[in-house]
């Protein structure tokens, strides 16, 4: 009988554990260093005026009101456009569409789209929305571009959430004479909503951080007014930060750090919300 090299396997196990641990510490360490750097630079800059002021040539008078308003309006339009399309497409593909080769092909392509660099979406948006549809570098063009960017994420999340609903629930509903639509809208969709919401919030946090596609479609780096309608020009927080970091004066770097803190907090809040919603929903629905 061959003896199992137990002691050697055990030491390999230990070595691997420490290697993995050191990489984790390394990754977290970098993050911590970055956070400390940003907070030490920017936290003092955050005050009421920073939120309220328009951007300015003078760093100490500059604020993020236009960037914040632009970002929130952009998110609003993006959600209004992408949510219904993404959710309905996900429901169709999972519940209604035939499971044939074409469906497989579409499924793979949607997953691939979720991984396409965002700047590519920017180029598409520039051609399609800004130039062909003549929307200009407006909020609505930005929202449409971001919608394209997050649609695949929403579709995939919706499909996954719907796939996780057990067939026994569908059977139970059909068995009582419910139609496909009744079953989907009253049983399957509510049961999948927790997962769908989580996906949506993650998609939205992705949209918040995007800069590249918006720069490509021509979002302005300096907007001295708050957008009032979908056809207005706009800027967003990441673009504002990008703008500040490219200035030579040190005071603008402080502004950028403060902007990053605000952006981080918003993303953090959204992710927290996603986790909260998921936990709350899964507690209510455990199938």
């Amino acid at each position: 009988m061959k003896s199992y090299p137990y002691t050697s396997a055990k030491s390999t196990d230990k070595v691997f554990k420490y290697i993995a641990l050191s990489f984790t510490v390394f990754a977290l360490g970098i993050l911590v260093v970055l956070l400390i750097d940003i907070f030490s630079k920017g936290i003092a800059r955050i005050n009421w005026d920073f939120f309220r002021n328009l951007p300015s040539r003078h760093a100490e008078k500059s604020g993020i009101i236009t960037a914040l308003a632009g970002m929130l309006s952009l998110l609003f339009f993006t959600i209004v456009i992408a949510l219904p399309i993404g959710i309905l497409a996900g429901i169709y593909l999972q519940e209604y569409g035939k499971k044939n080769r074409l469906a497989k092909f579409i499924e793979i392509n949607i997953s691939n789209l979720a991984g396409v660099p965002s700047v590519i979406y920017g180029i598409l948006g520039l051609t399609l929305f800004v130039r062909i549809l003549k929307l200009g570098n407006s909020l609505i063009a930005g929202a449409l571009t971001l919608s394209l960017l997050i649609l695949p994420i929403i579709i995939v999340a919706t499909r996954e959430a719907i796939r996780a609903v057990p067939d026994s629930l569908r059977e139970g509903s059909y068995g009582m004479g419910a139609t496909k639509w009744q079953t989907t809208s009253k049983i399957v969709f509510p049961a999948a909503l927790g997962g769908i919401l989580t996906g949506i919030i993650l998609a939205v946090s992705r949209a918040i951080g995007e800069t590249a596609p918006l720069l490509v479609i021509g979002a302005l780096v300096y907007v001295p007014f708050i957008p009032e309608g979908p056809k207005d020009q706009f800027t967003t927080l990441p673009i504002q930060i990008f703008n500040w970091t490219s200035r030579p004066q040190a005071a603008f770097i402080v502004n950028a750090a403060a902007g990053i803190i605000v952006l981080l907090l918003i993303t953090f809040l959204l992710n927290g919300l996603a986790i909260y919603v998921r936990n709350k929903w899964y507690k209510k629905i455990k199938y």
Partner: protein, 250 residues
């Protein structure tokens, strides 16, 4: 007018290439409990699912022969209408992730009942008929999934009864339950046959003997023997039936 509530004549069914039902003719009398028994894969669940056309949910199913309810061809009826008249209880309790009340009210709401009081009365009546009312009265707004397995299964029965079917199909309704819950379900079946025609698929020989009036034994897609339950268990005509009911195979 036929004496049967449900009837099949020369029924054949294929899943793709595989023939699951072979030339089955059987008649089920109203207000009786009929048990379908047989080893796994013998076609008993498949036949059960023909009566409310649940087999249509499986792709590549081909069906031949006549399936009648009250002398009307089941496959000419509106499928949603049919399923309201032929209720089904599944092997694993499958309450919807909603409140106890909403589970029972579901069927009423999908047929368009809007009157709150009518729904309330119907929910209470159905829960009483399913012998669950005493256990859930006062906690109707709690999630159905907080109930025990046996209670969940009786909730699924109540949910089915609420839409007033005339036939209730039960696909191994007690196979995932403990003995006490099982005996509650069996008592319930015994009581329900006054109002409903019940067809039950079971792997449990004692259960078939206890609850049913008639028993059908299936083997490899064929109906081997169909007779009064007492006769099936004491004096079966076919050797295979005898081997199965005495536990010599299957």
């Amino acid at each position: 007018m036929s004496m049967f509530k449900l009837e099949t004549k020369n029924a054949n069914l294929w899943y793709g290439e595989k023939q699951a039902l072979k030339n089955i003719s059987i008649g089920i009398e109203p207000n009786t409990v009929t048990a379908f028994i047989g080893p796994s894969g013998c076609g008993k669940s498949t036949l059960l699912r023909c009566f409310n056309r649940m087999n249509e949910l499986i792709e590549n199913t081909k069906i031949e022969g006549e399936f009648l309810m009250d002398d009307t061809d089941i496959y000419d009826m509106d499928v949603y209408e049919l399923r309201k008249r032929v209720g089904m209880v599944f092997q694993k309790p499958n309450p919807f992730p909603k409140s106890i009340f909403d589970n029972v009210a579901y069927g009423l709401r999908i047929i368009g009942e809007k009157n709150r009081n009518a729904i309330k009365d119907k929910v209470e009546l159905s829960l009483k008929n399913a012998a669950l009312w005493d256990e859930v009265n006062g906690i109707l707004n709690k999630p159905a999934l907080s109930l025990s397995g046996g209670q969940q299964q009786r909730l699924c029965i109540a949910r089915t009864l609420a839409i007033e079917p005339s036939v209730v199909l039960m696909d191994e309704p007690a196979s995932s339950l403990d003995p006490i819950s099982t005996s509650k379900i069996e008592d319930l079946i015994y009581k329900l046959k006054q109002k409903f025609t019940i067809v039950i698929v079971t792997h449990n020989m004692q259960q078939a003997a206890r609850v049913s009036n008639k028993t059908a034994f299936f083997y490899l897609g064929e109906l081997i023997e169909f007779d009064n339950t007492e006769k099936m268990f004491t004096d079966p005509q076919n050797q295979r039936t005898q081997n199965y009911v005495t536990g010599r195979f299957g």
